[in-house]
Symmetry: C2
Amino acid sequence: MATSLISRQLAFSLQKNVWLSASGYRYVSKAAAKTQVEFDYDGPSMTTTVPGPRSQELMKQLGQIQNTGAINFFCNYEESKGNYLVDVDGNRMLDIYTQISSIPIGYNHPALLKVMTNPNNLSTFVNRPALGILPPENFPDKITESLLSVAPSGMTRVQTMSCGACSNENAYKAIFIWYRNKERGPNTPTNEELNTSMINQAPGCPELSILSFMGGFHGRTLGCLATTHSKAIHKLDIPSFDWPVAPFPRLQYPLDEFTRENAEEEARCLEEVEDLIVKWRQKGKPVAGIVIEPIQAEGGDNHASPDFFRRLRNIARKHGCAFHVDEVQTGGGGTGKFWAHEHWGMDDPADVVSFSKKLLSGGYYHKDELQADKPYRIFNTWMGDPSKNLFLSEVLNVIRRENLLEEVTRSGKALLNGLYELQAQYPSILSRARGQGTFCAIDACDDATRDRIMLKARDKGVLLGGCGDRTIRFRPALVFKEYHVNLFLNIFNDVLAQHK
Amino acid sequence: MATSLISRQLAFSLQKNVWLSASGYRYVSKAAAKTQVEFDYDGPSMTTTVPGPRSQELMKQLGQIQNTGAINFFCNYEESKGNYLVDVDGNRMLDIYTQISSIPIGYNHPALLKVMTNPNNLSTFVNRPALGILPPENFPDKITESLLSVAPSGMTRVQTMSCGACSNENAYKAIFIWYRNKERGPNTPTNEELNTSMINQAPGCPELSILSFMGGFHGRTLGCLATTHSKAIHKLDIPSFDWPVAPFPRLQYPLDEFTRENAEEEARCLEEVEDLIVKWRQKGKPVAGIVIEPIQAEGGDNHASPDFFRRLRNIARKHGCAFHVDEVQTGGGGTGKFWAHEHWGMDDPADVVSFSKKLLSGGYYHKDELQADKPYRIFNTWMGDPSKNLFLSEVLNVIRRENLLEEVTRSGKALLNGLYELQAQYPSILSRARGQGTFCAIDACDDATRDRIMLKARDKGVLLGGCGDRTIRFRPALVFKEYHVNLFLNIFNDVLAQHK
């Protein structure tokens, strides 16, 4: 009885969901591509200002349990679809922030719903394994068909983790272990090393460092936070390590109009990197690794040229530091390539590449020599989550089947051109439009204006994110088409026109 | 067409799964309780030694991708049920380690499978929100009915996180922020603090410390690792903080036979704690918090008395340090109470209680004053995972409906008595049996013997875990009944009898 009731419920739900794959909408716009998002709404629809009354009520309720200062509004994820996030007051917004850039192919994608309703997958969700000791039979195949199918050039090894911060923390550990093993050569650790390590002292816990960049963001746990330098409020009051912080190039945009100035700025930063490596070696805190984002995201969408990254990679090699590219936000297709570092055109772009967000759980790829020499050195209870990998396999299928990286490139061009036009039209409000793929950004004249514009856009049905001091960042899903670009540009134009 | 195919598949799968809730087995043994696990196998069944040929094949395949040194064998989670883990070679083992103590109510529990097949839950799995900014409508209700329904005494606030390490890292951050705000009083942070924080320097990144205990384990990310002191291999080569490490009492067992000696040992440790707090304050690295496990698990299942914890809690209060009880491994019912600290009988047991594992995702409860004063100070992209909370609600329902904490107390007594008998019978092999609920342990005479016994037991169908130097730890699920205790004791007795 119970069984048939559940299966009837399921059948009903699946019928209800038929619209997901059988929508009749075909968007037409002056620049619409032929490929369409087939499970999308046809535009924003607003019934209240945001947050509406129901969101405010829930905010009060949650305020009894947590700090709610960062909460935008409460969501109705059941009704959200494709590029549209629906809130609890019935407002439907075009989502160009996608849960801080972590929704790869839109809300409630039919392909992902199908993963859930495949009975063969049930036990993967219900029985979370300790992957490091007792993996499921299909684990090697699953990571081969998911993560390894998109492995960065030169890397055949990947360590899964649960989130971005854990990915970077463990990548740093792998770098430290690799660095000390290089120094140690054929010798085993001394008793002094083993004993001092137990009480946090050198030589067992050596004074090694990771070089990071001003404006960089690599997470908020204590190791990651020592390499994060985007906002003081993230770091204030938290003990840290004395690790070197290099300047990240502050380029002028559009890049191709300031080639000479930007090259000078990049050279200055690279020189500083080498100086810091030497200085910290002299201090007795050698730089074991360099960590950098291909585009600094949280820090304000700061770009650097492929040439900068190639030179930096060479500096790392020259000084024996591991080169760690943090693709937690840039990875997964938003720049028009699966990894942003592919834009550098290198066979050997990095020693470590970490990821999370759009890849649905965390981890890092690494060169063979960066694998820890012994078990339990890189380890924790869960070491990732195979249920997220099931979804990732399907996301990758959709990306390939629907040529989403090409779509992103196309939508990204339309978006950036639109932003160029808007900043020409509103030069007192907007400047420094920049981007790669749909991973775009534009600056407002100040933070108050930026915040006001974003709130107005939200009330008109467009959800955006901020970063840096006064930047608006665009982080749509990979199913954000030219149609959606035009929709956004029209609304944004209205907001700017009304802005006083 | 596609719809009806999927719903037929599902109906078929649900029929296949009927045995899960309609098994006819009723176990009878000399001490079997009336309540039974209704979805269990009737015993271990071994076809090969472990790891069998298929596991070895997969080990080679995964060895191309990861370090496999810690892998025991590969599992067939689809066929695993209740207390039994089935491997890829068809071996079925009584699991008394449960994925490092993280499976609360056994494999493929029908109540959890039901969560998966409830169509209302689909979108929670498919659309992972950024909980800190865009929570789902039911989030306040869901954490109220799950996490808050088991909140430790004196705590009405909880911050969800993805795993144990992130939970502790963020709890430490909350402690540092609270501590500095206490010092700062009504003043706002100075510009010097804000500026120095950006480059990891004091006063913005102050030299505060967390006091931890030798033998303690709180995770492996860099902040957590500075408070972890269980094994050198976990810490070797990783930079750390100069934080104080106090001795954890090394008690003699059974506890009630060594009351005087143990009280002296505990007094010695508490004295050392106070000395360290004073010393580190003088060093300019004041102790902002004390972190401790109610039973040191990874470090070798070391117990201390309720009196010890009460006195320690008072020392923390006296010196203005936050008292953080790490219940990542002890929480969730294994000790016969939902939280191990409930055994201390205190109204105000802690300022922070962190959890993960059996609670299926991480987080920490905290007193009101430990809530960060501003948004984005305790923050990351996902801040937990509502899909795990769906399962947790159901786990808590099962625990209540089936009185599993009483069951654990009953099974635990049988297990500990059985261990006492075995160590009396094999005094040259076993000693120091100890435990609370089914959270039990026993020491072997040395590590080689311990490892050999565990491997032999595994080949006979019992999966155990080690901890410390030569300890075997028991971490069954909450559905481990007296019947299973007897099954285990019989097999373990055979192993010991054959041990040379």
